[in-house]
């Protein structure tokens, strides 16, 4: 990807990137001559493609950590087999940087944290159905249902909303 400031005929430079929100990220580029800024929006599929290739917008100065893509992106991995890279960073810092992962991967692709409920209420019936989803896919299913509910203007997650949201994730419930 290259960006040209048409006015100055100058190659624009990467300035900043936001963490994903609703699966989409925003990258800001600036003209080094006139300081004009532009924003590039990547839709969820484009963001996911970059993530799948383990590439970082704006580049990276950090050497890749062993199996960093697998460890950060495999949802169904067992905990002792896939130590969390961000947890290791914190541990390393606490121990004076001895952890080999102190300078770990960028968190560029971690979603901005959203409040647990984000104004959405779950009915008891919906919660019971959520509990029936296998544990290893439940967080992803919950996120998919809440995302669907917000996108479609629901304030309460009911069994009917869950039925409508089925297409957003692979779990059956």
């Amino acid at each position: 990807m290259k960006f040209l400031c048409i006015e100055c005929e100058t190659s624009m430079k990467f300035k900043d990137v936001t963490r994903p929100e609703q699966g989409s990220i925003t990258a800001v580029f600036e003209c080094p001559d006139c300081f004009t800024e532009i924003a590039m929006f990547l839709n969820p599929s484009e963001t996911q493609m970059l993530k799948s290739m383990d590439l970082k917008l704006g580049g990276t100065h950090e050497a890749a950590q062993p199996m960093q893509m697998l460890r950060s992106q495999l949802l169904t991995g067992k905990e002792d087999a896939i130590p969390d890279l961000t947890t290791e960073t914190k541990t390393g810092e606490a121990e004076g940087g001895k952890c080999p992962f102190t300078s770990v991967i960028s968190e560029a692709y971690e979603e901005e944290s959203v409040p647990e409920t984000d104004g959405l209420k779950w009915t008891q019936e919906a919660l019971e159905r959520l509990e029936r989803i296998p544990a290893f896919v439940r967080p992803m299913a919950k996120m998919g249902i809440e995302s669907f509910a917000k996108d479609n203007g629901h304030t309460e997650i009911t069994a009917e909303v869950m039925d409508q949201a089925r297409g957003n994730f692979p779990a059956q419930f």
């Binding site: 699966g23 950060s72 495999l74 957003n168 994730f169």
Partner: protein, 295 residues
């Protein structure tokens, strides 16, 4: 106005540099591996993984240092077949220490990472909808990390057990341009050979990968009572005439091979003097011969 080629770089992300760094990591890791071999068929159910596990064991018993990559990310079986399914991977600053069999064969498999027996491979994504657009890219990245981040150290042979599908080899060749060759596994049936031929064409004519030879699996059945050999399939064309490559071995069917796969002790270790083991040893020997001839 300037065009794409007039601009010297990609506005700061250095995507080409990032991809090159990934490729270099694989290249560097494999610099201590003498021969990298893909075991493929294109067709499922011909016994690729069992052949891979047993040929790896045969090579190891002959004194070679061996590693196995289970490249079938969605249907991993190698860890179970080689008895390392309960191993825990150890992460260091430079890589991941693989599982190691009692013979010292190094193994990496998705099976070592998944949380439960019934856990499928699921990737983190805002939505799993339209996952078909990025899932295979994610899988290639995972395979790249398996190959490039596992601490193989010095190896004589690194075997890659590929999943079915002729396009899988193309992914491997992208990751390992220096792939030493391909071992093709088939069974003596028209249906199998119809599909395997496509994989051979892909390997030889499209990807220009050397084909080490063909293994014919489940060629015949040896009666345990009278020792008579009975064919399992009715294909009249010999595998040599169909593929016109070196026949590395004809491995007879033995139901105990399946039991060994389940128990995690390779058949060749448990029944070293049986006809199937002899055929597997011959296959391993022919692979060595191929490389001896090449050098």
């Amino acid at each position: 106005m300037k065009n794409y080629k007039d601009l010297p770089n990609d506005s700061g992300s250095n995507i080409v540099g990032q991809v090159t760094a990934q490729a270099n990591r694989v290249k560097e890791r494999l610099s201590s591996v003498k021969y990298t071999i893909a075991v493929m068929s294109g067709k499922g159910g011909v016994g690729k993984s069992a052949v891979t596990a047993n040929v790896a064991t045969a090579l190891s018993l002959q004194g070679y240092s061996v590693g196995v990559v289970d490249a079938d990310l969605n249907g991993p079986t190698i860890a179970k077949m080689m008895g390392v399914r309960d191993s825990t991977l150890e992460y260091t600053s430079t890589g991941v220490k693989p599982a190691t069999t009692t013979l010292g064969i190094k193994v990496i498999s998705m099976d070592l990472l998944l949380s439960e027996d019934d856990a499928p491979v699921l990737w983190n994504a805002h939505s799993q909808k339209d996952a078909f657009t990025w899932r295979s890219t994610m899988e290639v990245s995972a395979l790249r990390e398996f190959i490039g981040d596992t601490e193989w150290e010095e190896l004589d042979y690194l075997l890659l057990d590929l999943p079915p599908g002729s396009e899988r080899l193309a992914n491997v060749v992208e990751l390992i341009p220096s792939l030493s060759g391909v071992v093709v596994v088939t069974i003596p049936s028209d249906v199998s050979q119809l599909i395997v031929k496509k994989s051979v064409t892909m390997a030889r004519d499209v990807l220009s990968v050397p084909i080490i030879g063909v293994v014919e699996n489940m060629t015949y059945y040896v009666c345990h009572h009278c020792g008579e050999r009975e064919p399992l399939f009715s294909n009249e064309d010999s595998v040599e005439s169909t593929f016109q490559f070196t026949l590395l071995g004809r491995i007879p069917f033995d139901p105990r091979l399946s039991q060994c796969n389940d128990s995690g002790i390779p058949y060749i270790e448990q029944f070293p003097n049986n006809p199937a083991s002899e055929a597997i040893v011959e296959t391993a020997q022919n692979i060595q011969n191929y490389f001896n001839t090449q050098s």
